[in-house]
């Protein structure tokens, strides 16, 4: 059974905004993630990506996350990752990106670190 990609966003007034991502994060779904991230960034909000429900992440998904982190940084904002699923954690650690990315064990800690 194919896992469907989905995004679930926290309340609009929140900062940081929490985006819960689920399903397969591949080339097609990554573009939706990037678009949503751009919209949040354009409103000047920080972002927490909860990746606990991501069942598969392709290189395009990883690349999109890297680009989003960089874009938020350039905009003077922060983007953090929280509660990595085993699939995400395996690939992130394979690429040694855990040394570079802001990763939190759970969503509450990620949110607390970015709360304005």
């Amino acid at each position: 059974m194919l896992e469907s990609f989905y995004l679930s966003k926290s309340k609009e007034r929140d900062d940081p905004v929490v985006l819960r991502v689920g399903g397969r994060l591949d080339a097609k779904s990554a573009s939706h993630l990037v678009e949503t991230g751009q919209e949040i960034r354009s409103r000047g909000k920080n972002l927490v990506l909860n990746l606990s429900r991501v069942t598969f992440i392709a290189s395009s998904g990883v690349g999109s996350i890297l680009a989003m982190v960089e874009d938020f940084h350039i905009a003077g904002l922060e983007l953090s990752l929280a509660d990595l699923s085993p699939a995400v954690e395996a690939v992130i650690k394979l690429l040694n990106l855990d040394q570079f990315l802001p990763i939190y064990a759970d969503e509450p800690n990620a949110v607390a670190a970015l709360e304005v």
Binding site: F56, G63, L66, A90, K93, L94, N96
Partner: protein, 229 residues
């Protein structure tokens, strides 16, 4: 000198470059192997016992006793790879982390074929095979090493798209902000870090062949470094 020769000979039909940890006596060296059925290749294979030297023999082996997964030429079909692994021994015995990484590497190798070999979604299919070999690595009797059935086995991907090879790849430098902004090119990093051996054999008489060897025992943090450089 090696880079000059690579660029000179790469376009010549039938030549390819392979690199691998076990490909030569000097880890990290590039090994030149002719793709044609030449006497030199046969002698090389006999000398090294290197099964990756003879892609057409590997394809015959796959068709004889391998397990096949046919994949439509569209990225959406690649979700079937994980499903295929999860339904077939010995992959069902993999720990979760190894399964994620194996599925990811095979996904990336296949995605590259769809994107670069076929230019995107097309009618038709390409093939992913898994072939078990003996513990000795010569595959003569086809028996599995039951202690580690994945060892000395290999995956083979056969496609009929445009021929390409990843011999000019460079590992992504994550210290470079441009690499983050670009956000692309990580697929090969995944493939080469997960697989113990990768060999591109484009433009054979049967199509483009990609050979990949996987050993979950090699997936440790110390081993996750650039292989095949």
């Amino acid at each position: 000198m090696i880079r000059f020769l690579k660029k000179l000979l790469s376009p010549v039909a039938g030549f390819h470059v392979e690199s691998g940890r076990n490909a030569s006596n000097h880890p990290g060296d590039l090994m030149w192997v002719a793709n044609r059925e030449t006497a030199r290749e046969t002698r090389h294979q006999l000398q090294t016992g290197d099964p990756f030297c003879d892609p057409l023999a590997r394809l015959t082996e796959a068709r004889t006793r391998g397990r096949r997964l046919s994949l439509p030429i569209r990225l959406e079909s690649l979700a079937r790879i994980r499903e295929w692994l999860e339904k077939n021994d010995p992959f069902t015995k993999l720990d979760a982390g190894s399964m994620h990484l194996l599925a990811a590497a095979l996904h990336e190798a296949s995605a590259n074929i769809i994107e670069h070999g076929y230019g995107g979604t097309r009618a038709g299919e390409f093939e992913l095979w898994w072939v078990a070999r003996t513990g000795s690595g010569n595959g003569e009797d086809g028996r599995l090493d039951c202690r580690n059935p994945l060892k000395n086995s290999y995956f083979l991907i056969l496609d009929h798209g445009m021929a390409f090879s990843a011999d000019d790849r460079e590992e992504t430098d994550f210290m470079d902000p441009e690499a983050w902004r670009r956000g692309r090119g990580l697929g090969l990093d995944i493939i080469f870090r997960v697989m113990t051996r990768v060999a591109y054999r484009p433009a054979t008489t049967q199509g483009n062949i990609t050979l990949l060897a996987f050993d979950p025992g090699e997936l440790t943090s110390n081993e996750r470094q650039l292989r095949h450089a």
